[in-house]
């Protein structure tokens, strides 16, 4: 152990002799780890939060199809649906989209029902009359509107509809409600000029979760023009989206990763004359091959471990304290209304281990392998 300590001391002295070169490597290494970890932290945090939330979505959402497109669904389907064995609560949903030309933003308009009255993540309350509405924090900020303010919308027939804001969803629920405008069912049906006997879609609960796909098959048989969307499909979609978005950002940094890999490869395939001479001298003064390899191992380990830990700390602070300022524009896309980036710090230790084995281990190996070639050669030949 004492011998190892001396070798570490000597390795640190060797690194200090070429401090500019080693410091530059450490900075690049740390930056690379920081970027890769930031992407992994951010996508994992959002993916985990989204999947945890959407696990409470309806078991089946039933859409109606017409002419190859999504179409309003007749509410009379509910009678047939309730006759299917295993089906629980059936609820029609009334919702749609609205493009606000004032702010160039898209809102999602949704009808409130009795069960929604006791929602707690709202300042104020849910709308109760046809002239009231509740809006998401993003909508309120964009329109610079507060509680009890008027909220104008223009219908398809170019008529102005004036609603009073009686509730604003809290900022911490923005991931779900940022672009929502919630109003009464009658108000929404009138606004979109929807037929009274149709809804946007129908949600179907299934009493036994193991029977969901069987119930979906029965629904398809009863209504061949319908499209049941299952909760597990919905969750799979989001799983793919976050992997895809994370993948795109990783691709953007592929150049940096490739440059680093070339650098490691360059290091692995040869050492310079000065390093070769140094190994020769060490061998000549009595160092064993194993000692030389231990020395090179420590040289690589010191740089790689220090840089890896620094990169991880930078990534954590960037994502969870500075709300991923550098990555946010890529993830936001073209959205005008985007909830404030406040990822919950869900960390996957497995990802950190994978990153460690993909970066630190190759770097240390790249430090040891070429030195091994020099260390097994004759010291006299190496020094010449």
């Amino acid at each position: 152990m004492k011998g190892n300590g001396r070798i570490i001391e000597y390795a640190l002295s060797t690194l200090a002799r070429r401090k500019f070169k080693n410091f530059s490597i450490a900075v690049v290494f740390s930056a690379l780890i920081a970027v890769l970890s930031s992407i992994l932290f951010l996508t994992h945090a959002y993916k985990t939060e989204t999947l945890k939330l959407l696990d409470n979505s309806p078991e089946i959402i039933l859409q109606n199809m017409s002419g190859g497109r999504h179409e309003l669904i007749p509410t009379e389907y509910i009678k047939t649906l309730s006759g299917i064995a295993g089906v629980g609560q059936i609820t029609p949903r009334y919702w749609g989209y609205y493009y606000d030309s004032l702010t160039s933003a898209n809102y999602t308009l949704m009808a409130v029902d009795e069960n929604m009255r006791d929602i707690q993540l709202i300042d104020g309350r849910m709308p109760q009359t046809d002239t009231e509405c509740a809006v998401g924090r993003g909508v309120a900020d964009l329109r610079q509107a507060g509680l009890k303010d008027d909220f104008f919308l223009i219908t398809g027939a170019e008529l102005s509809v004036n609603l009073k804001i009686v509730g604003i969803f809290t900022a911490n629920s923005a991931i779900l409600t940022n672009d929502l405008v919630v109003m009464t069912k009658d108000s929404l049906i009138k606004f979109f000029n929807m037929p009274a006997d149709k809804a946007t879609d129908i949600t179907v609960e299934v009493n036994n979760p193991a029977e969901v796909s069987m119930v979906a098959r029965k629904i398809r048989r009863a209504f061949p023009n319908s499209r049941p969307i299952l909760k597990n499909e919905l969750i799979r979609t989001y799983d793919n989206i976050f992997n895809w978005r994370g993948g795109i950002v990783l691709t953007m940094f592929f150049g940096a990763i490739a440059a680093f890999m070339i650098f490691v490869w360059d290091k692995a395939t040869g050492i310079n004359a000065q390093e070769r001479r140094e190994i020769g001298i060490l061998k000549a003064i009595g160092w064993e091959t194993a000692d030389v390899l231990t020395l090179k191992f420590w040289e690589g380990a010191v740089v790689a471990t220090g840089s890896f830990l620094t990169g991880l700390i930078l990534a954590y602070v960037h994502v969870f304290y500075f709300n991923a300022q550098f990555l946010a524009p890529v993830l936001k896309g073209w959205s005008v209304l985007f909830p404030r980036f406040q990822p919950m710090p869900y960390i996957d230790i497995y990802q950190i281990f994978v990153l460690f084995f993909l970066t630190v281990v190759p770097y240390v190996a790249a430090s040891v392998v070429p030195s091994w070639k020099a260390a097994i050669s004759d010291p006299d030949a190496v020094m010449r």
Partner: protein
């Protein structure tokens, strides 16, 4: 042994900081659990199917409801209908906002 101690100290400090950040994150997740429970309740009661991250198109606002089956499909990562789709920039108002 001064350099070894200095390095060991540096690594130890980094490890302690990381450990503190990790335990802090576990703690933060626990503290936020009641808020998460309220959000889960919101999803259940309002029968929400998607998160409000991307509001630029129907298929980004509600990816789970996107029409994977329709002709001229619109869904995340679908093949662009026109080559121009990959080179036309966002409208100026989106860029300046």
């Amino acid at each position: 042994m001064s350099k070894t101690r200095l390095f060991a100290g540096f690594i130890a400090i980094e490890a302690v900081v990381l450990l503190a950040l990790y335990t802090g994150s576990l703690n933060r997740v626990n503290v936020k659990e009641p808020e998460m429970a309220l959000k889960r309740k919101m999803v259940r009661v309002m029968r929400l199917t998607d998160v409000a991250f991307w509001t630029e198109a129907r298929y980004t606002r509600h990816p789970s409801q996107a029409d994977f089956f329709a002709p001229f499909q619109d869904f995340p990562s679908s093949v662009d209908h026109f080559p121009a789709g990959s080179i036309v920039p966002p409208a100026q108002r989106h860029v300046t906002r």
